[in-house]
C-alpha cells in the first residue's frame, strides 16, 4: 500500500517535473522586480506569494474561457530563483498530463494583465512575462494639438499689434498732412510767420534732437540782431 502510494507520488512529481521545466513547451518565464517597484515596502517572495500567483493564473484561465475549470493545483511553478523569477505551466484540468496551449494562456494573461499586476502591487515593467509582449497604452491626445492653440493666441496678439501700429501711423500721417496743408494755406495768406533758421522751422529745434546750449541761449536773443 505504502509502496503503491510512493510510486504514484513519484509518478506525479516526475510528470509535473517534466511538464514544468525551463523552456518546456507551453511554459512561460516570469520575472518580478519587487524591490525596484516598492523599495522599502517590498515584501518577501515566499510560498504564500507563490500560492497567490497560482490562484491568479487559475482565475485568469477561468475568466478567459468561461467553461474552464482550472484549479490552483493545475498551475505548476518551478525553478524559483533569488531574482525572483520562475517558470510556470498550466495543465489541462481534465487530464493532468497535458498542458494548456501557450497561445491560450498568453491570450488569457493579456486580457487580465491589470488584475494580475495589481494583485502584486506591480506594473507591466516590474512583473514581466517574458514571452508575452505588453500592449503599451498610447498617450492621451487632445483633439486640437496644444501647440496650435498657443500658436493661435500668440499670432493673434502679434497681428493685432501690427494692425494697431500701422493704422495709427497712417492716421498720424494724415493729421500731419492736414496740418501742413493748413499751414501752407495760412502762409499764403501771410497771416502766420514762421521763424526759420537754416531752412528749419524753429519748432523742430525744440525737439529732443537738439540740446539748447546754455551759453548761447542764455538770453532771448537766439537770432543775431539786425
Amino acid at each position: 500500500m505504502l509502496g503503491v502510494l510512493l510510486l504514484a507520488f513519484s509518478v506525479v512529481s516526475v510528470a509535473s517535473a517534466e511538464l514544468c521545466k525551463p523552456d518546456a513547451q507551453n511554459a512561460f518565464k516570469v520575472r518580478l522586480s519587487i524591490k525596484t517597484a516598492l523599495g522599502d515596502n517590498a515584501y518577501a517572495w515566499d510560498a504564500n506569494e507563490e500560492y497567490l500567483f497560482k490562484a491568479m493564473i487559475a482565475f485568469t484561465m477561468r475568466r478567459y474561457s468561461s467553461k474552464s475549470t482550472t484549479q490552483i493545483s493545475n498551475v505548476l511553478l518551478c525553478n524559483v530563483t533569488d531574482r525572483v523569477s520562475f517558470w510556470f505551466v498550466v495543465t489541462d484540468s481534465s487530464k493532468n498530463t497535458t498542458t494548456v496551449p501557450g497561445s491560450e494562456v498568453e491570450a488569457a494573461i493579456r486580457m487580465n494583465r491589470n488584475r494580475i499586476n495589481s494583485a502584486f502591487l506591480l506594473s507591466d515593467k516590474t512583473l514581466q512575462f517574458l514571452k508575452i509582449s505588453t500592449t503599451l497604452s498610447p498617450p492621451v491626445e487632445p483633439s486640437t494639438p496644444v501647440w496650435l492653440i498657443v500658436f493661435g493666441v500668440v499670432l493673434s496678439l502679434i497681428v493685432a499689434g501690427i494692425v494697431f501700429l500701422v493704422v495709427s501711423g497712417i492716421q498720424q500721417r494724415k493729421k500731419k498732412n492736414k496740418e501742413s496743408t493748413e499751414r501752407e494755406n495760412l502762409e499764403e495768406k501771410g497771416e502766420v510767420t514762421i521763424t526759420i533758421e537754416n531752412g528749419i522751422p524753429c519748432e523742430t529745434l525744440d525737439l529732443k534732437a537738439g540740446h539748447v546750449n546754455g551759453v548761447f541761449a542764455a538770453d532771448d536773443e537766439r537770432f543775431t540782431s539786425l
Binding site: 496644444v146 501647440w147 498657443v150 502679434i158 501700429l165 501711423g169 529745434l205 534732437a209
Partner: protein, 592 residues
C-alpha cells in the same frame, strides 16, 4: 522741410540695442564648445587678450563711424570715400543673407516653446509604433530628444538632394517669427527702442534662474570641474588663438553694418567710447556666464546618462544570471563582473557584446555646439528636471529673446541704408519698406523649412558670413585709417566725445589685420600740428557726454557749438556750410 533723423530716446536704449544684438545665440551655444575644445579655463586667456586687442577697437571703430556719419553703412562709407560705398553694399548683402537663415532659429524656438505646454513634454518619451507593442524603431535607436528634433521638428530627409516638401508647421512658425520682427522694427527706433529693453534683460533673468537651478542639479559639479580645469597645453595650439579671435569677432557682430546703423541714430555727442567698452565687456561676461550654466547642465546630463548606463548593465546581469535584486550595485559592479566571468564563462561571453563600458569621461567628452546643443542637449536635461514645463518655457523664451535681439540688428543694417536713400523714401513709407524686406526674407526662408532645410541652414551658417565679414572689416579699418585719415578721425572723435582719447582705437586692429607695424603714433596732445587747424582743443572733461564746451577757447570750438544745436552738423552738408570750411581745409580733406 528736412525731417529730423529719428533718435534713441536715451543712451540706455542704444546700449541695450547693442547688447541685445551682440549677445546672441553664439554666446550660449558656441562659446562653451570652444571652451571645452581648447583647454577649459585656459581658453579664457586668449579670449580676453583678443577682446582687448581686437574686439574693443573694432567695435569702437564701427560705433564711431556710425555716430559721426549719421547714416547707415552705405551712406557712411560713401562719405568717407565715394569709391568705398561697395563696402556698405557688401555689409547690406551679408546682413541680408544672415537674416534669411537666422530667423529660422527663432521659428524653431517658437515651435519648442509652443510644445512646452504639455505634460509630459513631447520629447520626453518615444512615440509608440504602429501595433503598440513597443516604441518607434527610429526613436529606440537614438533617443527621444533626438527623435523629436530630427523627425518631428525638422522631418529631415536623408540628403541634400531629396528636398522634400515644405513642412507647414515650420512654415507657420517662420511666418510668425517674421511677423514678430516686423512688429518690432515697424516704427524704426521708436518701436525698436522699447523692445530692446525686454530682449536685452530677459535673457539675463533666465540665465540667473538657470544658474541657480543648474548648480543645484545632481552631477553639475562634474561638468564644472571638467570645464574649468585649465589644459594650458592647448595655448600652444594656434587654433586656440584663431578660434578666440574669430569668436570675439563674430560674437560682437562686426562688419554687418548693424552697429553703424544703431550708432547713426545716436545723439552726436554720445560717448561711444564708453559704450563700446561696456558692450564688449558685457558680451564677453555673458559668454562666460552662459558657459557656466551650460557646463552645469552638461554635468547633470552626463551624470544622468552614466548612471542609467550603469543601471542598465546591472539589470542585464541580474536578469541573465537570476541574481537577487540589490546584490549588484554601482560600487561592487566591477568585482561582480569578474566573479561572473569566472563562474559562468560561456553565458558571460554571450552577454559581453551588450555590456557597455560606462564612463563619465566619455559622456562629458561629447562636445556639442550649435543647434544640437540648444535643442537636443538642453531639452534632454530639461526633461529630467522637476517642473520641466516651467524650465522649458523659460529656456525657449530666452532663446527667442536672444534671437530676436540679433534679428533687430540685422534688419536695422538692411533698412537703415534703404531709409537713408531719398529715392526710396520719397516713394514708399518706412512701414512699406520694412514690410517688403520682411516679406522677401520670409519667402526665401521657406527653403529652410523644407525637409532638406537643415542642410541648407548648415551651408549658410558656415559660409554666408564668415570670409566676407573678415574682408569687409579689413577694408573698413584700412579705409578709416588711411583713406579717411587717422588723425582726422581722432579729431572727430574728440569733438564728439569731448575729451582726449586715451588709446587709439584703430591701430591695434590694423596691426592685427595687416600684420604690419602700422601707424603706431599715440594720440598725445600735438600742439604743432593741431595749431594749423585753428587752435587747440583743450582737454575737457565732460561728464555724461553732454556738450559742455563753454571752457573751449578756440574759434573751432565755438563754431562747433552752433553746429551741435542743429541737425546739419558735419554729416550731409559739410561742403556747403561755409563755417565748416576752415575745419575742412585743416583736416586735409581728400574727397569731393
Amino acid at each position: 522741410m528736412e525731417k529730423a533723423r529719428p533718435l534713441w530716446d536715451n543712451p540706455l536704449q542704444f546700449v541695450f540695442a547693442c547688447i541685445s544684438y551682440a549677445v546672441g545665440l553664439g554666446n550660449v551655444w558656441r562659446f562653451p564648445y570652444l571652451c571645452q575644445m581648447y583647454g577649459g579655463g585656459g581658453f579664457l586667456i586668449p579670449y580676453i587678450i583678443m577682446l582687448i586687442v581686437e574686439g574693443m577697437p573694432l567695435l569702437y571703430l564701427e560705433l564711431a563711424v556710425g555716430q559721426r556719419m549719421r547714416k547707415g553703412s552705405i551712406g557712411a562709407w560713401k562719405i568717407i570715400s565715394p569709391y568705398l560705398c561697395g563696402v556698405g553694399v557688401a555689409s547690406v548683402v551679408v546682413s541680408f543673407f544672415l537674416s534669411m537663415y537666422y530667423n529660422v532659429i527663432n521659428a524653431w524656438a517658437f515651435w519648442y516653446l509652443f510644445h512646452s505646454f504639455q505634460d509630459p513634454l513631447p520629447w520626453a518619451t518615444c512615440p509608440l509604433n504602429s501595433n503598440r507593442t513597443g516604441y518607434e524603431e527610429e526613436c529606440e535607436k537614438t533617443s527621444s530628444t533626438q527623435y523629436f528634433w530630427y523627425r518631428q521638428t525638422l522631418n529631415i530627409s536623408p540628403s541634400l538632394e531629396t528636398s522634400g516638401t515644405v513642412q507647414w508647421e515650420q512654415a507657420l512658425c517662420l511666418i510668425l517669427a517674421w511677423l514678430v520682427v516686423y512688429l518690432c522694427i515697424l516704427r524704426g527706433t521708436a518701436s525698436t527702442g522699447k523692445v530692446v529693453y525686454v530682449t536685452a534683460s530677459l535673457p539675463y533673468c533666465v540665465l540667473i534662474i538657470y544658474l541657480i537651478r543648474g548648480l543645484t542639479l545632481h552631477g553639475a559639479v562634474n561638468g564644472l570641474i571638467y570645464m574649468f580645469t585649465p589644459k594650458l597645453e592647448q595655448l600652444s595650439n594656434p587654433k586656440t588663438w584663431i578660434s578666440a579671435a574669430t569668436q570675439i569677432f563674430f560674437s560682437l557682430g562686426l562688419g554687418f553694418g548693424s552697429l553703424i546703423a544703431f550708432a547713426s541714430y545716436n545723439d552726436p555727442s554720445n560717448n561711444c567710447e564708453r559704450h563700446a567698452i561696456i558692450v564688449s565687456l558685457i558680451n564677453s561676461t555673458t559668454s562666460i556666464f552662459a558657459s557656466i550654466v551650460t557646463f552645469s547642465i552638461y554635468g547633470f546630463k552626463a551624470t544622468f546618462n552614466y548612471e542609467s548606463c550603469i543601471n542598465k548593465v546591472i539589470l542585464l546581469l541580474m536578469n541573465t544570471f537570476d541574481l537577487e535584486e540589490g546584490s549588484l550595485t554601482a560600487d561592487n559592479l566591477s568585482e561582480m563582473k569578474d566573479y561572473l566571468m569566472a563562474a559562468h564563462p560561456q553565458e558571460y561571453a554571450q552577454l559581453s557584446p551588450q555590456l557597455k563600458n560606462c564612463s563619465l569621461e566619455a559622456e562629458l567628452d561629447t562636445a556639442v555646439q550649435g543647434t544640437g546643443l540648444a535643442f537636443i542637449v538642453y531639452s534632454e536635461a530639461i526633461k529630467n528636471m522637476e517642473v520641466s514645463q516651467l524650465y522649458s518655457v523659460l529656456y525657449f523664451a530666452m532663446l527667442l529673446m536672444l534671437g530676436i535681439g540679433s534679428m533687430l540688428g540685422n534688419t536695422a543694417a538692411i533698412l537703415t541704408p534703404l531709409t537713408d536713400s531719398k529715392a526710396i523714401t520719397s516713394r514708399f513709407s518706412k512701414e512699406v519698406i520694412s514690410g517688403f524686406v520682411c516679406f522677401i526674407n520670409c519667402i526665401i526662408g521657406l527653403i529652410f523649412t523644407m525637409e532638406a532645410g537643415n542642410y541648407w541652414f548648415d551651408i549658410f551658417n558656415d559660409y554666408a558670413a564668415t570670409l566676407s565679414l573678415l574682408l569687409i572689416v579689413l577694408v573698413e579699418t584700412i579705409a578709416v585709417c588711411y583713406i579717411y585719415g587717422l588723425r582726422r578721425f581722432e579729431k572727430d572723435l574728440q569733438t564728439m566725445i569731448g575729451r582726449k582719447l586715451n588709446w587709439n582705437p584703430s591701430i591695434p586692429s590694423v596691426g592685427w589685420h595687416t600684420g604690419a607695424a602700422g601707424d603706431k603714433r599715440l594720440p598725445q596732445l600735438r600742439p604743432g600740428s593741431d595749431r594749423a587747424a585753428g587752435g587747440l582743443i583743450h582737454h575737457v572733461h565732460t561728464p555724461g557726454g553732454t556738450p559742455n564746451f563753454h571752457k573751449e577757447e578756440t574759434e573751432e570750438g565755438k563754431s562747433l557749438h552752433c553746429r551741435m544745436n542743429t541737425e546739419n552738423w558735419i554729416g550731409k552738408d559739410l561742403t556747403h556750410t561755409t563755417s565748416d570750411r576752415a575745419l575742412l581745409e585743416a583736416s586735409s580733406n581728400h574727397y569731393l
